[in-house]
């Protein structure tokens, strides 16, 4: 299953870009600022959410363009069944509203995810293991969305309860104990569910990472280090017991919003943050591929890898390409030059990108 006949209109620096005769491997080559990542970002809008840059919709419209933009593509099922037409449109008149069309009919953004699972890896994620614990939690929660669709709603409710409780704790007046009881009951209910989703995901990922392990690719081992109990009644009890301390701190110090995603190199037992840049990149790729196996579940998969060859030595690159070839997903990659991609060039569709225009090579 693969995307074909992609058209991108008035998006970032692309006035009118068409990509046809796509392949399993699709390579966009060009100088910095040519508009390679913009193509990946456009493709990432064929999934619910804010896309791979998490940008606001008006920012994505072409400067000096009419104000809106369109991304459309045809999804060709592998079994030769009828193709599905997917599209995302933003009208100039409503620059903050994204409209989604599936086979010509208006749908919610979630309608896209019934057909396509889109995942990506960008250089902005390279520092994940050395970044803050919050960045890793957000990363984990985003991965959880694919396996537990209710996770976002759960996180929103938890977040609202947390902000309410923090407001009470930081207030000049002593907090109403029964009000705290009520908020803690909500925090415990939703917090326990969040923790359970994360645990289930991490277990599945570790199983998948072990199954996919090979000698060339360092295997990451994921673990959750909670702050406070994860079980509902115990968390409620702990929050209650912690009131005096947290009143002094003015905020809630335990719960899943303080949990840490710990990643280590499985073979060496070294924390990911202390691994080499190349090893870190390889681990991120491994997690992305393992997550793909969990998230795709019968749908077409689209993997967007921005500047993925950077930091990888030739051996690891070959191992990556071999894995990508074994995996059934359509892959889109960007690079400043073609050489690193030599091993896959015979099976790849290659475009030269320059100034927002594409030329098929």
């Amino acid at each position: 299953m693969a995307l074909d006949r992609i058209s991108i209109l008035d998006f970032r620096n692309h006035r009118q870009t068409a990509l046809e005769d796509t392949a399993r491997f699709n390579l966009l080559v060009g100088a910095n600022g040519a508009g390679k990542t913009n193509v990946l970002e456009a493709l990432s809008l064929l999934a619910p959410g804010r896309g791979l840059r998490r940008a606001k919709l008006p920012e994505m419209a072409r400067i000096d363009g009419p104000g809106g933009f369109t991304v459309a593509a045809r999804l060709q099922p592998a079994d030769g069944a009828e193709p599905v037409q997917l599209g995302t449109v933003v009208d100039a008149a409503q620059p903050n509203r994204r409209r989604v069309r599936v086979n010509g009919a208006e749908r919610s953004a979630l309608g896209l995810s019934e057909w396509l699972s889109v995942r990506w890896l960008t250089p902005a994620m390279d520092g994940l293991f050395t970044d803050s614990a919050g960045a890793r939690r957000r990363y984990l929660d985003r991965l959880a969305l694919a396996t537990a669709p209710g996770h976002a709603a759960l996180s929103n409710r938890y977040e609202t309860a947390l902000r309410n409780r923090n407001r009470l704790l930081s207030d000049d007046a002593p907090p109403d104990p029964q009000w705290l009881d009520a908020l803690e009951a909500q925090l415990a209910e939703h917090g326990a569910a969040i923790a359970a989703n994360r645990r289930a995901l991490v277990e599945e990922l570790n199983r998948e990472l072990e199954a996919q392990a090979d000698a060339l690719f360092p295997r990451p081992l994921l673990a959750i280090e909670p702050t406070g109990p994860e079980e509902r009644a115990a968390l409620a009890e702990a929050l209650r017991g912690n009131r005096r301390t947290e009143r002094r701190a003015g905020r809630t110090l335990i719960g899943p919003h303080r949990a840490e995603l710990a990643v280590t190199l499985a073979d060496k037992g070294v924390p990911a943050a202390r691994a080499s840049t190349g090893e870190q990149k390889a681990m991120l790729i491994a997690i992305t591929l393992a997550h793909g196996a969990l998230a795709t579940r019968g749908r077409a998969g689209l993997l967007l890898l921005d500047e993925v060859a950077a930091h990888l030595d030739p051996q690891r690159r070959e191992a990556l390409f071999a894995r990508l070839a074994a995996n059934g997903e359509q892959v889109w990659m960007t690079g400043t030059e073609r050489t690193p991609f030599d091993p896959i060039l015979p099976d790849a569709a290659v475009w030269d990108v320059s100034g927002g225009s594409l030329r098929r090579i």
Binding site: A148, P149, G150, A153, L154, R157, T160, A161, R163, N164, R165, R167, L168, D171, D176, Q178, W179, D181, A182, L183, A185, Q186
Partner: protein
């Protein structure tokens, strides 16, 4: 170009919930066209509401009499109180004509973020009514985080009274298809499943 008076009326109507400048102008045009019939009737209705509108001192409902029509209806079971966040919720529940008890309007929901505290809600009135002797309190808060926090809070405040406390069920809507429900609602419906028959 419409006169200043008509513009003023249109801009007053445009501020009503659910309307906007366009539908307000349409309403004004309708009134102007039917100035012999629709306009006087609307004027009378507005004036009589303005003259007689009161907040019920028992339940907080808004009616043209105090106590309100519901609280003073002898066929209603005063021993059963359904607590709601707003008058709109009371009206929604009463339109369905399913609840034969009385109501209590809190006037909002607890929200530290919006600065709504327990003392801003009509809780003392509720406690006084329960203390005077009530069999059941139905907590009919919205299924939002803050609505549910308020329900939990009230349940705790009512703990020491000999009263049955119940809450509206959450889950599968009537006529709803499982396929279209979000996971949270499905989970709630599954948790609240009950024996059939």
């Amino acid at each position: 170009m419409a006169s200043q008076e008509i513009e003023t009326l249109a801009s007053a109507l445009a501020r009503l919930p659910g309307l906007g400048p366009r539908s307000a102008r349409r309403a004004v045009l309708h009134l102007v066209k039917k100035r012999e019939t629709a306009l006087p009737a609307l004027l009378d209705a507005l004036l009589s509401v303005q003259d007689t509108l009161e907040e019920c001192r028992i339940c907080g409902n808004v009616d043209t009499q105090d106590p309100c029509g519901i609280c003073s209806d002898p066929r209603r079971d005063a021993k059963s109180i359904c607590v709601v966040e707003d008058v709109a919720d009371l009206w929604a529940l009463d339109r369905a004509k399913l609840f034969s008890g009385t109501f209590h309007v809190l006037g909002g929901r607890l929200s530290a973020l919006d600065g709504v505290r327990p003392e801003d809600l009509a809780i003392p009135g509720l406690l006084a009514r329960v203390e005077a002797g009530v069999d059941e309190v139905v907590l009919a808060m919205n299924a939002t985080l803050e609505g549910q926090t308020t329900a939990h809070y009230l349940a705790e405040r009512l703990e020491d009274f000999p009263v049955r406390i119940t809450q509206l069920a959450h889950g599968l809507p009537v006529g709803g298809e499982l396929d279209y429900l979000d996971e949270g609602t499905l989970a709630q419906a599954l948790r609240a499943r009950r024996p059939l028959g």
